[in-house]
Point group: C2
Chain length 307, copies 2
């Protein structure tokens, strides 16, 4: 059995317009790299962090916390070193902490001969994710670990469904370099919502799941509507409406806030449209003082993988 | 072309636990019979109503109102007579008015050579349904017209999705003979609901749609949960909790209020279990003063059909 594994741990988009807190999908062209190494010495060590200034202490690093939860449960007769080459900017709204939390446990599981299934890995990864967001949630972890589109049916007990991914679906992301704290983004949401809006939302979730199963791109388009969260959270993202309008005008099937923001995602049929959507999004922010980055990505149906 | 058609217009179950106002399915062993007859004379006439005491006046009968809406839109060079053999008790919560409203337009459409598609028929049927329930909705009409499981994605524009029906799925119904007015059943619902409950509900709707696509009976069971409506409406239905417990103990996948009630439905895998569920439900009401009827039905994937 190999003693070292190098992995790609992808960025992910949570919520997917209509599916607040439950839906997510996995990206391919944006992600961290990590090296996990088995050691004879017991215990866990983070031996390298590059890209962003994150703590080396196990209990202060999301990758360390998830690794520690899994390590103490499995009690393997070895230790692990973790190297993190962070590419996903923390706080970007595309699952930066989830990539770290999922990557360490996924890599350790591989090196141990895969004793845990994907749901169990998600369970331990949630312990790390909780360090970053003050609550256990899995809407970024599930797509990172399972790949493709996922639905977190429930957290307790943890129950994750893998949904089909139509083959021509591409994502476009724009990340305006502003800070939106997840806690702030959560606090802005009302505790109660109008029943009529909730009904629209679950109609759209059901419709999107049906559309993914039937690879019906028109129906995907009609389902990517958020009646609950967007109107509140978009206040935290300058030019959101302009970006959304530009993306839709460029042919996107839908455009919404990625997770808690500030990143904005669009889904398109075909890479050509996704690239046109990227250009259209760039134009909006090019006319502002805000720095930004954009990405076009195929939906990653594999999730985390060895490189 | 034939000048007369006799049809079976089925009872239907709306809401289906998690899908308030959007999901529904079609029954097979309970339904009205109707005869629609083309006449040389222009205009519409209801020439017979048997079973229940319902008005003959076109504008006061749901079957007449839907027929009139379609008739004035199409302006055919003929008239129609409608005979209604009502078997579904009005106010039972299994789509009695929907069966009438859908049946007349479905039959007329057949006699005219099917100029309208199923969505268009639902549109006209909604005009009749509105007479009975004071608002236009399609969650009983859609399964009656499309058959199987349906999702009303939106009312305006009207957009209905036909979902797959796993072949071993059977419904059990119990109709306690008490009056629950749809208006009262609507009024008891809050205008706002907790966001957390709404999230559970759309997770379950997504999960149920996925389960229907994958014929995953375990997942159907885990998805048939209502976090929004049941706790309010069950107050209107004596012994609801006992019936639900009995149904689940007898092996039902799920059990919830049918539409606005008072009927209660269960879904089961296989006819044998559905029949055991029926017995278990009967025992609960047998110990009370309330009269009741029960039915076991395969899911009707055809919807309205000629007999």
């Amino acid at each position: 059995m190999k003693n070292e594994i190098k992995i790609f741990s992808p960025a992910t988009v949570a919520n997917v317009a209509c599916g607040f807190d439950v839906l997510g999908f996995c990206l391919d062209s944006i992600g961290d790299e990590m090296i996990i190494r088995k050691t004879e010495a017991q215990g866990l060590k983070i031996t390298k962090v590059e890209g962003y200034d994150l703590p080396y202490e196990i209990e202060q690093n999301v990758a360390g916390v998830s690794a520690h939860a899994m390590y103490t449960a499995l009690e393997p007769d070895c230790g692990f070193e973790i190297e993190i080459y962070k590419k996903i900017k923390p706080g970007s709204g595309i699952g930066s902490s989830a990539a770290s939390a999922a990557g360490s446990v996924w890599g350790m599981n591989e090196l141990l001969g895969n004793p845990l299934n994907q749901t169990q890995l998600t369970y331990y990864a949630m312990k790390g994710e909780a360090l970053a967001s003050q609550c256990e949630h899995a809407d970024n972890l599930a797509p990172a670990i399972f790949g493709g589109f996922t639905l977190v049916k429930s957290i307790d007990p943890l129950h994750i469904l893998q949904l089909p991914t139509p083959s021509e679906l591409y994502a476009t992301l724009i990340h305006p370099q502003i800070e939106v704290k997840t806690s702030e983004s959560r606090a802005i949401l009302p505790k109660e919502i109008p029943l009529q809006n909730a009904i629209s939302q679950w109609a759209n979730v059901g419709s999107l799941v049906h559309a993914l199963h039937t690879a019906d791109y028109d129906l995907i388009k009609e389902s990517l509507i958020d009646s609950v969260v967007e109107s509140h959270r978009k206040e935290l993202i300058p030019h959101f409406d302009a970006v959304k309008t530009a993306a839709l005008n460029a042919g996107a099937l839908g455009c919404a806030i990625s997770g808690a923001g500030p990143s904005i995602f669009a889904l398109s049929k075909g890479k050509k449209t996704a690239t046109a959507v990227e250009s259209a999004m760039r134009i909006v922010y090019s006319n502002t003082e805000i720095e930004f980055e954009t990405y076009v990505s195929k939906i990653n149906v594999e999730g985390i993988y060895k490189i």
